[in-house]
Symmetry: C2
Subunit: 249 residues, 2 copies
């Protein structure tokens, strides 16, 4: 299982991913799902992956190596992409490439080719953008009305994003709410777990402003979880009971 | 879509169901998914259903009519069940009966036979129990460690139940938290909507204590939604921002 959220606000982009993978509940490991591709001063991309780990790792490797372009005979790379749109297309092409190579054998083995990715970032002088790329290599773009995208086990953590995130949310409030969303998911689904990887990219900056891993016991995240729990408890306690209870005779 | 939650606490049982059904987003209707079978003084059962409406309605009709028992030549009914376990088995048998009658034609038509139900209640002098019955007619029972069960779109509303419900929760606090859980689901998923049907059964009572429909605009539920929103906003606002932001030079 996996939970990743990308939040694109006025001042920049936050990407948060858990690191738990499982091939069965008795085979749980920690793998990085947030990958940063950065050429400081020119472009920075974040890629978060959900789904079959062999597929997603192959896609990441392909993106590092570059994809052969049969028309030009050269390799297409993220560094050479002329726009975020072209870069997202390249991610989609990498997924299709892995599908064409591994898909038939996976199908024979009864393994579903089931991946999704969040891809975001900025090329100098161009808009910052965030995309969700599907297993067929097609993709959608995050808009201002609902300025976040999620992959993996997204439902537990969606209500707080729905309520708290707007385009104008402060960049580090977006990170905070993303961490609350991650906390809600981790509490309700064992398939999502610490550590958490995150990056913060400020719009028009030359490099990621923050690229961090939160481990178990990290004081701020521990405190956030405690405070959020206490606040929720206080919140539902403060709501009056339904006035439907029949009066005792 | 559907969201139903059953909460079994020390003092009784709460069952809450939404009423929205959709055959495509352009074909949305309101149907009752919470069905009450009550013989006051003897037994009361609540049945909540998720999945294909033609299947679930057939199951409910069968349970009202009684299921032919090939061994005795008579009809088995909920009124005649000798225990909650036997009653839950009867619900499972009704699902299997519909599967054997409608399953092949549904399969031909490419329609999945996909239902799940929550069945709870009490027979006089016996324990109050709550079950989740699957599409194959098998079932599990709610225990004291996690004293609730959910069907349908259960993920959005699970975090608050995980946090707030214990076996000792007051019966009407359980109802309140169930309504918060429903609210979280409705906000994040258009497939779940008002009105909400609910029953409250107090343990060892002769009849359901409350059997109510909450319509849009109901003052208590409206107030609960407003308060919960405001409290969540206050809660995440009160948590300090992550201390990771680099200091300006």
């Amino acid at each position: 299982m996996t939970y990743c959220a990308g939040i694109l606000v006025q001042d920049g982009l936050v990407m948060i991913a858990d690191t738990r993978t499982n091939a069965g509940l008795d085979d749980i490991s920690t793998f990085r799902k947030l990958h940063v591709f950065s050429w400081p001063g020119d472009r920075t991309f974040g890629l978060m992956t959900a789904g079959n780990l062999s597929v997603t790792q192959s896609v990441v490797s392909l993106l590092h190596e570059g994809l052969p372009n049969p028309e030009t005979g050269e390799s297409d790379t993220l560094q050479g992409a002329t726009s975020m749109f072209r870069a997202a297309q390249l991610v989609g092409r990498a997924i299709r490439h892995v599908r064409s190579e591994d898909g038939p054998a996976l199908k024979d083995a009864g393994v579903k080719f089931d991946v999704s990715m969040l891809f975001g970032g900025q090329i100098k002088g161009q808009p910052m953008r965030l995309f969700m790329v599907y297993g067929a290599g097609n993709f959608i773009e995050c808009g201002m009305d609902a300025p976040f995208l999620q992959i993996g086990e997204h439902k537990y953590g969606k209500p707080i994003l729905d309520r708290a995130i707007t385009h104008k949310t402060h960049l580090y409030d977006a990170l905070k709410v993303g961490l609350i969303s991650m906390d809600s998911t981790m509490r309700s689904n064992l398939g999502v777990g610490l550590p958490i990887d995150l990056i913060v990219m400020r719009r028009d900056a030359d490099a990621p402003e923050l690229n961090r891993r939160i481990e178990a016991g990290e004081p701020y995240f521990h405190d956030l979880r405690e405070r959020w729990s206490a606040a929720l408890r206080a919140a539902h306690t403060a709501i009056p009971r339904p006035p439907y209870e029949p009066k005792s005779p």
